[in-house]
């Protein structure tokens, strides 16, 4: 054992590992409060959660508590509203905006799923539904932009009309990007932030383009 006294461990060998406790989903048999609450309580609780998230989107700030409590009702409402507003009134009432309606739906949901998969593949630390939730809720500014554009389009069309709409859409587009990056950026490793944010940019750009190029007939 004489040679062992010469061995020394240098200070900078990283010793790291992972201790995980396997969390299997187990059945808990007890009458917890949520099992026995009244229906009205459940409805009010969910409505308040949705409303709180809308507020968070309107005034974005870094908040972890928002992500913890995800739900997809907001995105559903926003998607349906946006799709309804993006309908063209066509002469032929047989196909009244059929393809455009389903198109918006598919673009929004498929786009959100793709971005989520992308961020997970890049090593993001966010769950699938949380990411869908954030992306869906951050469509709120663009929905407001659509509303404003439709109102502006009631007036006389022309270059001024277009400039107003362009300005509104650009402002809301920036707002959406800022809101979603406030929530999503933290979950990415630092050298991959741009790679994760770029699809979000593309997603909102496509929606903004649909809004900007919308004409009633």
């Amino acid at each position: 054992f004489a040679g062992l006294s010469d061995i020394s461990i240098s200070q900078d060998i990283p010793v790291e590992g992972e201790i995980t406790i396997p969390m299997t989903s187990h059945i808990r048999e007890f009458d917890s409060s949520t099992l026995n609450e009244s229906v009205q309580n459940t409805i009010m609780r969910d409505l308040k959660a949705v409303g709180k998230k809308f507020m968070h989107v309107l005034y974005p700030r870094k908040s972890n508590t928002l992500l913890r409590d995800w739900d997809l009702w907001g995105p559903l409402i926003l998607c349906v509203t946006l799709a309804l507003m993006l309908q063209r009134s066509s002469v032929d009432s047989e196909k009244d905006g059929g393809p455009q309606f389903a198109e918006v739906f598919v673009i929004v949901w498929f786009g959100a799923v793709t971005i989520t998969l992308n961020s997970k593949l890049l090593g993001g630390n966010i769950s699938f539904f949380q990411s869908l939730c954030v992306l869906g809720y951050c469509i709120l500014p663009l929905t407001v932009a659509m509303l404003v554009c439709r109102l502006v389009l009631l007036a006389e069309q022309g270059p001024i009309n277009f400039m107003v709409r362009l300005f509104v859409v650009i402002v809301m587009f920036t707002w959406s990007i800022v809101a979603s990056t406030a929530f999503l950026a933290d979950s990415q490793p630092p050298n991959r932030k741009a790679l994760a944010i770029y699809p979000v940019f593309l997603f909102y750009f496509v929606i903004s383009w649909m809004i900007l190029t919308f004409t009633p007939q």
Binding site: T24, H26, E29, E94, D96
Partner: protein, 222 residues
């Protein structure tokens, strides 16, 4: 005289020393005409109402209005209400199960399944409710799967988005409740086999589940 007095009360001369069976029988007889009336009629109604009306609206939308958008939005809203009510209300009230997703501090999502402790006395009403619940839960996703193939093959692709949404919402509830029921048992094959065999036995011979020995001793028939 004494005989008449004994005949008036049913449990005076029933003396088998089997108190639990006696109480069970009394409870069942005590329901009387309301033995099959569900304890949560509103929940049972709404459990089936949203699902069935979503399917009916989808099938009959051409008769109501020619608007694709109106039908799409109506069916989608019905499916969403159905998802919410089955997940949050009817599962809790009818079978005492609940499932949801919980995010830990480090951002990991975890699914939590909750089950009410099964009471030893399961009345006829509770079992009827549970049967309605599970039948509604299983049959409707199958119908939507049939719609999926019919839409695909008839090339009405604009409806495909709706059918896929319907399948995913209803299958999510089905999967969640099956996991609740499984109770940590991970082998789906075993659970399905035991569930099916239980259903077969119950449908074939419901009386065999009662303890024998009290036949022919019914003094009072309600």
């Amino acid at each position: 005289m004494k005989q008449a007095l004994v005949d008036d009360t049913e449990d005076v001369s029933l003396d088998f020393g089997n108190e639990e069976e006696l109480a069970f029988r009394k409870a069942r007889l005590g329901y009387g005409a309301s033995g099959f009336f569900p304890r949560h009629p509103l929940a049972t109604f709404f459990h089936l109402f949203f699902r069935v009306s979503a399917i009916v609206t989808y099938v009959c939308c051409d008769w109501f209005s020619r608007s694709f958008v109106g039908c799409f939005v109506t069916v989608l809203l019905l499916l969403s209400f159905d998802f919410w009510s089955v997940k949050n209300v009817t599962g809790r009230l009818l079978v005492g199960l609940r499932w949801w997703n919980h995010i830990d501090e480090d951002g990991k999502g975890r699914w939590i399944f909750e089950a009410r402790k099964a009471s030893p006395q399961r009345s006829v009403a509770t079992e009827a409710e549970a049967r309605i619940f599970w039948l509604g839960l299983v049959i409707c996703p199958l119908i939507w799967t049939v719609f999926f193939f019919s839409t695909l093959f008839s090339l009405k692709l604009e409806w495909l988005a709706l059918v896929i949404a319907g399948i995913s919402l209803q299958a999510a509830n089905l999967y969640g409740y099956i996991l609740c029921k499984m109770g940590g048992e991970r082998d789906i094959g075993k659970i399905t086999a035991s569930f099916l065999s239980q259903m077969v036995f119950q449908t074939a011979s419901p009386r065999d589940f009662q303890k024998p020995g009290l036949k022919g001793l019914e003094i009072h028939k309600h």
